[in-house]
């Protein structure tokens, strides 16, 4: 009986774990979450470009503008 309840508990915990993993995985890969992640990367690009142009450092700006 003790073995049976241990096995039941094990499968129950595994099932909950798999459900949680599925929820977290789908949440991280939802289209709006992905779009927000791309937007965050864009914001970094934009910040770096603005900082370089604001600095007036021609060397940096020319590297940013290189073909």
């Amino acid at each position: 009986m003790g073995v049976l309840s241990a096995i039941t508990a094990f499968f129950g915990a595994l099932g909950e774990g798999l459900k949680l993993a599925y929820v977290r995985f789908t949440a991280k890969n939802a289209p709006d979450v992905k779009a927000a992640a791309v937007g965050q990367a864009d914001a970094k690009v934009s910040d770096a470009a603005a900082e370089d142009v604001a600095s007036g450092d021609l060397d940096k700006i020319r590297k940013d503008a290189a073909e």
């Binding site: 991280k28 864009d42 020319r62 290189a66």
Partner: protein
């Protein structure tokens, strides 16, 4: 005979337990996977524009940056690809004006130079990085 059957049953249980443990670890790994975003691609040197290694940016001026006609062509080409990504949509020659004669580079006063304001130079840099990253048109 009985012992052999019992050993076989044990090994099956061991295999099932291993598979379950692997599934448990797999689910942990799967749930910890984040969205992969590529890092911005940056150059470590300016590119040549005719015989000058200046990426088409000649000098800074009080109203922006003096740029070459080739820079303008690149800018407008990038706008053709990525213009709709901006709000409002970026149109050709946005932020560009023909340079007045007094602003032309003294050492190389070629005709057809332009001045791009700082805002649109930032837009150019953003589009240039997107282009180097292989980002598709919106």
């Amino acid at each position: 005979m009985y012992r052999a059957r019992r050993d076989s049953a044990h090994s099956e249980w061991a295999l099932i337990a291993l598979i379950l443990i692997a599934a448990g670890f797999g689910s942990l790994l799967l749930s910890s996977c984040g969205t992969v975003i590529p890092d911005p691609v940056t150059s470590s040197a300016a590119s040549f524009d005719a015989n000058e290694q200046n990426s088409g940016i000649i000098a800074a001026t009080p109203t922006g940056y003096l740029v070459t006609p080739h820079f303008r062509d690149r800018y407008n080409q990038l706008i053709a690809i990525y213009g709709p990504a901006f709000t409002p949509r970026l149109e050709a020659d946005a932020g560009l004006v023909r340079a007045p004669s007094e602003a032309l580079a003294k050492e190389d006063p070629i005709a057809g130079q332009y001045i791009i304001d700082r805002q649109h130079l930032v837009y150019f840099v953003r589009m240039n990085i997107w282009h180097k990253m292989g980002r598709p048109a919106p």
